[in-house]
Symmetry: D2
């Protein structure tokens, strides 16, 4: 038995669930999991994730996809179909702070994150041993203010065809609109604050100066508006006056690892649908 | 437009979702919300909650229910159908600790908990003013070891026909198997610990003595096995060595209120399905 | 035995703890609880809370306070001394959303918050029954754009001499700099967001629009900079795409109650020290 | 400047804080941090942690320790003195589940956990590469029911003189009373449940079967009573009916890592005092 996931979003209207489940049923599929959400039952937007199993020998994928296209057109839907047998390919960009990278690599090696990692790219040489210990190709691409566009081009060449999505695991350089457009696939970033608080540089210092009693980390899709992309996951922890900036950073590293790992986990399970500047993340 | 909720559980098999949504669709209903869960996609148990809207003028409820019965039989399902226009009637039993009662009454008055409260029953006279301030009938039924069965009988007479479910809002008496059977509907209890830790009496003292670093409260369905019923909701909070028993109790009261209110909220929205000794609580 | 609490802040220097504890010891006091904190052990600012018990019959309060003044001068300290026998008088201002008020009044009645409440002031008449059920004087002071200054003056007359601090329990009017200066004592506000995110109006709508995955509430000292005062307490909870604005508000009410109650609790136990735009809140 | 930490516990009595701080002051020390706690201000037990800095050139350590001994005797105290310049030596025992080990090694390498690790001991060969990548000696000591005592003896020889404390980072063998006595120093264990719930084997399966809505992990001192030792840290997370055992384990691994890392962090900062079957963990 194979499994597949369909993600769909469209204007809400009566009968969608019936049509979707019927279409899967007709092709011999068995719905294993199904989640749906409507922003507003009366004229809102409809989101659905359906995971189904099917017998590959008895299923005509071409016809399934064709029927699905028909249905999608009728519903004015945006949809994607993901076959479970295909592991996603995740490119990772990182600077010198490697705690998020360590988390991702460990979870990948232990099969908790079932992805391929075609390359680890960094503007710092320090990360090489770590990548190599995991048997992963390491690519060093220095960044500087002068060579930014050029460096981005090198990254693009590395990842454009070899990856399905990118993760910025504390990559301290801002990727340009040109890069994001040219790459054209999803880019997940971890920001070390509880967005929208403390955008920009040195958020733990900002948090310390403001005297907050809870800190957080935010995993979000990178967009051209820095720190403004759709939020996927946020993780928080209580702090107190006793926590100086170093201590906030220490606690924050745990949050960053957790938020990013959760986001990537949801992503590769095809549980995330983007819309407007938000996400639906099915549980 | 009216709304209704169907809760269903049955052996998993291909096509359930399609059949369910089709049945609703055929009667002119529009699925507003749908959640499902399967313990195991291959031979497990299937649970579903479907909330749908329908035009009462155009819908033949009798036929809908008839078709639904047919479907339920075919699927070997246990199912219930709840029309949204009908508010549930909640009976409340309480002893002298009234913080959970205050929470429920306030949320009911502010329409956050959209229930009727036909009566507040207590074995302590102190609660009377509170009930009366909310315009609710207060019934004083003393309990003692000798008169326990008799007192239970009085409670039963009060609630048997007038309520749809009971809430034990820190009711310090144990209801007997006879009572639970005779009542025959759901009874929600709040236990002041993070079950299964610290069953039985004085759980905050037990927690203090064990030196735990997190305490909790548990809302669960009352069953004949004390503190062993299906868990609906648990809420927790960090504590430290500084928290003596009085302080644990103070923090615990917040947890109890929260856990019980969440559980009742899920219950009246028909988001809970019981099976074995567990619950499915749809989000 | 009586108890007292001393709160002190001063430039850090060697020997402070020894001097403070010695001073208490010499007057026959027994330190029951002591907390201290230094922003930076080398040249930072020092904060201390000392709770001590003493035999009133054997203690010369005047001499104690005199010696303490001497010490405070030598240390260039700001300090306050609070005798435990004296209950603080808390004025409450509220608009029509009364959930925070209900929480405070219940906790006060059950002695969890050991304060006097000389008056409940509201610009809405709806709150009157609630205050009166608790046997508290209710004062209705309408606010409008035209009469704002005048209304503030009426509030001031009510609270200036009769209260030790004010709580804005969802009071939807902004108190002016003039008012705050004229009152001259602490004012605790609850803001219904996780500050500094979503300052200003309708924060739950802001949170919904931004698509955050965690919401919060913030209790802080009111200052002339709206929503910018020193944060005392923040409470947070996970949310998801399923939570519409009404649901965020529902969850938020729980957070607001909790954050405000915790802040008031810390305040009346004299566990808070303000400095710069922050707070030290001892555990 | 050097720093040192004194941990002390003794029967409560007036003047302790004054005496302690005076003793440090007289030897030229400056108290950098001080925490205290009394189980009961009237006849309870007193706990204190004092961190102070001193000029090694001007301080006579021998005299300091002598005076401190005198004071300890007078107060009937149990106390320990830790000089900050000396890094603790942590022995690690692990079986095949290596997520906690990975966490500890990474935090050690990044200096977040400032300890020496003289050896990593495992009854499984798989862990060797990981230890060696971190440049740490790996010792393989197989365990079986028949050779248990013998294997423990080998462990003891490895760690008795080379370590200051042991961490059982998911070591699936139970260390005997003989071993614990012979080792004679602290042993920190991570149990993969929210103790006292789900002691013993396969706690995630127990949690799943009970249908809890929150799971946890507990770091505690290992004692002869399995899973009954003093709790140092507990970390929890919400789960739902959707989480099967595999998912509970996945979420649990994060909790285990966090709880164990927090406990070790507190331990090496000398923030933990054991008493009875509990801990005081200063913040």
């Amino acid at each position: 038995m194979e499994t597949a996931v369909i993600l769909i979003q469209c204007p809400d209207q009566p009968g969608i669930v019936a049509e979707v489940s019927d279409c899967i049923f007709r092709h011999g599929g068995n719905i294993v999991n199904s989640d749906q959400y409507t922003t507003d039952p009366y004229g809102g937007r409809f989101f659905m994730r359906v995971e189904f199993s099917f017998d590959d020998a008895k299923t005509d994928r071409e016809r399934l996809e064709h029927d699905w296209s028909e249905l999608g057109r009728r519903l004015e839907a945006r949809w994607t179909l993901h076959y479970g047998a295909r592991r996603l390919r995740m490119g990772v960009l990182v600077s010198k702070y490697d705690h998020c990278l360590v988390e991702l690599l460990y979870r990948q090696r232990s099969r908790e994150l079932d992805v391929e990692i075609p390359c680890v790219i960094s503007n710092h040489p320090d990360v090489r041993p770590l990548a190599e210990q995991h048997g992963l190709p390491y690519v060093h691409i220095p960044f500087s203010a002068e060579t930014h566009a050029e460096s981005e081009q090198k990254v693009l060449e590395q990842v454009k065809d070899t990856t399905d999505f990118l993760v910025l695991a504390r990559f301290m350089r801002i990727l340009s609109e040109d890069f994001l457009n040219a790459y054209g696939k999803d880019v997940i970033n971890i920001h070390h604050s509880f967005l929208p608080s403390f955008k920009g540089a040195d958020p733990y210092r900002q948090a310390y100066n403001r005297g907050v009693k809870v800190i957080g980390a935010t995993a979000h899709f990178a967009t051209v508006d820095l720190d403004e992309g759709p939020i996927i996951e946020q993780v928080v922890e209580r702090v107190s006056h006793k926590d100086n900036i170093a201590e906030l950073k220490r606690k924050g590293r745990s949050l960053e690892k957790q938020a990013l790992a959760n986001a990537v986990f949801a992503y590769i399970e095809h549980r995330i649908i983007r819309y407007e500047n938000k996400t639906v993340v099915f549980g």
